[in-house]
Symmetry: C2
């Protein structure tokens, strides 16, 4: 540890630690770096991740879940880094963020709609089962697992 002027106590992570904590592969993490989403510092050639990197990764994964591409996520994250860029840059970023919010609101409506339709469908199927004298909440018979998800 050569520790520049960083709070000596601040926790750091290795790439495998991160990968395990977030249930993704190291490959994916390096890939995010390649796409400019992470900038871990290095000890020699080994990557060292800070708390800040941890948070970024959290945001990245959540961003992916809500449908952002890595390119978009990069924009968004750069947005958090900014702090004192060109005025022009800030305004543009602001617009981008607002647009993303609008699209997210729409997406939420889509989700609500889909949920309610699925709910209707479920009710329908439950009725079908009840008509056949079957408890619609009985567990399924020995669902064969494909693979255990975690590493």
């Amino acid at each position: 540890m050569k520790a520049g002027a960083e709070p000596a106590g601040s926790k750091t992570y290795s790439i495998t630690q991160l990968s395990e904590e977030f249930s993704i592969t190291p490959r994916a993490i390096r890939f995010y770096e390649d796409r400019g989403l992470l900038h871990p510092r290095r000890d020699g050639q080994t990557r060292i991740y800070s708390q800040r990197d941890w948070v970024r990764l959290l945001l990245i994964l959540r961003g992916k879940r809500v449908g952002f591409s890595l390119a978009e996520l990069r924009e968004i994250l750069d947005l958090y880094d900014l702090g004192d860029g060109q005025t022009e840059q800030i305004r543009r970023t602001l617009e981008t963020a607002r647009a993303k919010m609008v699209s997210l609101e729409r997406q939420r409506q889509d989700i609500d709609q889909t949920i309610s339709e699925l709910k209707t469908a479920c009710g329908h199927f439950e009725n079908l089962l009840v008509e056949r004298g079957i408890d619609p909440h009985m567990p399924l018979p020995a669902q064969r697992r494909r693979r255990a998800g975690a590493a």
Copy 2:
């Protein structure tokens, strides 16, 4: 339902009509068919789409927006077709639908969280602009458009 007896008045669509109405390409529509999401009837070799197909397409596109893959959408749509399948099949389908609902609920939380974070970030940037004496709601200077989205 094979019913050669369809309500003669029920509206139909050509592939390009559909594609224009939903702002997608005919190629995409054929692709959905190839993946088993649509089953238009044919006049000779030309596809003819019914109201039901129209609704399906609507569901497909919304499904895509909320993050379903075409394979998943196929499952979901088959679910609407079912009506009288094997009891076992119905129960399985029901489980699938419930699982999807759970994942959607989670996704909605992710979205809410992301929106609120973006909101915070926006506030932050607006402050930065105000500090520089700039109205954060001024429109941007002649945003260059990439392409007009529609066909």
